[in-house]
């Protein structure tokens, strides 16, 4: 078993070289994330410790066998303070100056309570889900019409829609802001959601897919007295699961990571989304790297989990849509 595994690992001598290069690249790609997670478990003392050594593992997670002389001293000191603090708390003699010694999840607790992050998560999740489902429904309806119906100005309307894909988003930011403020939508969920419910890209993508569905099926169904909406719900939607999932992931990801738009159209804390909240936290926390890394970690984690769950679909569709132009 292991022999065959070895054989496939290095089918050719040059493969060792290829693996070496790829591993160096992979380390460069993934190390910032490892560094982020490790730092999020470190105390301020550990992070701000100057000195030559690069310490990856936080004190509290490092097996004691790896500890040097200095580390042992620092950890012993930390243990002593912890015991002292516990004793003081028990006897109720904690002096106001005494700081609670660092515990593993302290950075996460500090970051989580520094800003109403639960609210930001809720807002982001709500907008992302609404935009994803809403834009998929609207886009699939329009794509259905473009793919199956005959109506005047069909080609012109389709071209107009493709044209909007080329508009520069920066040029739209300002007039959109003015329009939203005129209709009093600044600082509302409407401003976060409604402009993103129309996605020309999704319409285009789905129309390409619907065009591959047999037209005869549609005509036969119409002759049998099936209504257009029935055909859409009973035939088209069930058949178009793969492209819908792909677009759904794109749209969810895009909304989760969107920053500039929510930054501009909302300034109320209760409406803030995660990326804007993170940037506020970053400017507030300054150089409190521990909590900053903790906050970065918990904003990234939901996406990474989603990525691993939908990975195959994701990478393949990414490649596919990337090539379509």
């Amino acid at each position: 078993m292991s022999a065959t595994a070895k054989k496939t690992l290095f089918k050719h001598p040059s493969h060792i070289f290829i693996h070496a290069l790829l591993i160096i690249g992979a380390i460069f790609m993934i190390f910032p994330f490892i560094w982020m997670i490790m730092t999020s478990f470190k105390s301020e003392d550990e992070i701000l410790k100057t000195g030559k050594a690069i310490v990856l593992l936080p004190d509290q997670l490092r097996p004691s066998i790896l500890n040097g002389e200095e580390d042992r001293k620092r950890i012993a000191e930390h243990e002593r303070q912890k015991a002292l603090f516990a004793a003081q708390t028990a006897s109720g003699t904690v002096s106001r100056k005494a700081q609670k010694p660092f515990e593993l999840l302290d950075n996460y607790k500090e970051a989580w309570s520094a800003q109403p992050f639960y609210r930001y998560f809720l807002n982001t999740f709500l907008t992302a889900i609404t935009i994803t489902t809403g834009s998929l429904i609207f886009a699939s309806l329009a794509a259905y019409a473009f793919a199956f119906f005959k109506f005047p100005f069909k080609d012109q309307l389709f071209l107009l829609m493709l044209g909007t894909m080329m508009l520069p988003q920066q040029a739209l930011l300002i007039p959109d802001y003015i329009i939203l403020s005129k209709i009093h939508w600044i600082n509302t969920y409407m401003a976060l959601i409604v402009p993103w419910l129309a996605s020309a890209y999704s319409v285009f993508f789905l129309r390409q897919f619907f065009m591959q569905l047999p037209k005869d099926l549609f005509e036969a169904a119409m002759l049998d007295g099936c209504t257009r909406l029935q055909f859409y719900f009973k035939i088209v939607l069930p058949l178009s699961k793969p492209p819908m999932v792909t677009l759904g992931i794109f749209s969810f990801l895009g909304t989760w990571n969107s920053f500039v738009w929510p930054l501009i159209v909302t300034n109320d804390t209760s409406l803030r989304v995660i990326q804007v909240g993170l940037s506020y936290f970053a400017s507030e926390a300054g150089t409190r790297w521990g909590p900053l890394m903790a906050a970065s970690t918990f904003t990234i984690v939901p996406l990474v989990i989603m990525y691993f769950l939908a990975q195959r679909q994701f990478v393949e569709s990414q490649a596919m849509t990337g090539m379509k132009e």
Binding site: M29, F138, W289
Partner: protein, 292 residues
């Protein structure tokens, strides 16, 4: 023959949601913004007609020139660097080796994460006193740098981080392009005794050129719109405005100084630049592209 009868007037009903929103937030705003760029307006006061003044002001604005230079610097370094690295990685991944799925996942990871979160992480890596980069330099006995606080290093730092962030996306696209190249071409070349370099020059590179062109055009457009990482990593445009790029300047003018007319003039210049560059690429660069 019964086409006329079959005209589906109901179709417009299906189009209304998408087109309604597009009209309100994309099509009309473009015309609206063209109009605003002829006014001086801070949104609250009266708009004052200034004709082409906003555009004329651009030519005398040293900060605008600075932002142009910085944007070009970013584009000229980051686009080729990203293309070279991602093409190289894709070529390596295109071999029949094991663990491709794992590599692909790792290289793609930065793409799915938000620019804001990774900007914070890289801010820490670049920190002059506690950052990883200076610690690595110290290991090699090299002098520490100020990185993001240094007018010389700030832009290279932003570029390195941006290339890292976007690399995986291009790798996947190049990989798809490589897999479209017919295998029998390589077999024939091998029978004729062609070396790896010869195969690359005469098969891989020309047949990959449509993909390279696509990546080049998209990356160029994206590089002219760089904003988030600048905003997060070098607030106020960096040391000596060394990372002040066009979109950041536009953002400052519009949403900090409320000079909407002027900001829109900047937006239009940016649009014309991107548009003409894409047109140039389409007309001249694409001639060198080999379509089968």
């Amino acid at each position: 023959m019964f086409n006329k009868k079959q005209t589906d007037w109901g179709a417009y009903g299906y189009l209304v949601p998408v087109f309604g929103i597009m009209l309100c937030f994309q099509v009309l705003p473009i015309f609206y913004s063209l109009a605003i760029s002829f006014y001086r307006w801070d949104l609250i006061g009266e708009a004052e007609w200034v004709g082409l003044d906003n555009f004329a002001r651009l030519f005398d604005d040293p900060m605008f020139y600075k932002s142009l230079v910085n944007t070009f610097y970013y584009a000229i370094v980051s686009v080729p660097l990203s293309i070279l690295c991602s093409m190289g990685i894709a070529l390596l991944l295109n071999n029949p080796i094991s663990g491709i799925g794992i590599y692909r996942t790792i290289y793609f990871l930065p793409v799915i994460t938000s620019l804001n979160a990774v900007s914070i992480v890289w801010n820490f890596i670049y920190h002059p006193d506690y950052g990883l980069l200076n610690k690595l330099l110290a290991l090699l006995s090299l002098p520490p740098q100020l990185w993001l606080q240094d007018p010389f290093w700030a832009m290279p730092c932003i570029i390195l981080m941006s290339v890292w962030k976007g690399l995986g996306y291009n790798v996947i696209i190049f990989l798809a392009g490589l897999q479209n190249i017919p295998k029998h071409l390589y077999e024939a070349a091998r029978i004729d005794g062609a070396t790896w370099t010869q195969q690359f020059r005469h098969i891989t590179f020309p047949l990959l050129s449509p993909t390279t062109f696509f990546v080049f055009v998209m990356s160029t457009i994206g590089s002219f719109q760089v904003f988030s990482q600048i905003y997060m990593m070098t607030p106020r445009g960096g040391p000596l405005k060394s990372t002040l790029v066009i979109v950041y300047y536009l953002y400052q003018k519009a949403f900090e100084k409320f000079e909407f007319g002027y900001a829109l003039a900047i937006a239009f210049v940016l649009f014309i630049m991107i548009f003409s560059m894409t047109l140039f690429n389409k007309l001249y660069v694409e001639k060198k592209v080999h379509y089968s």
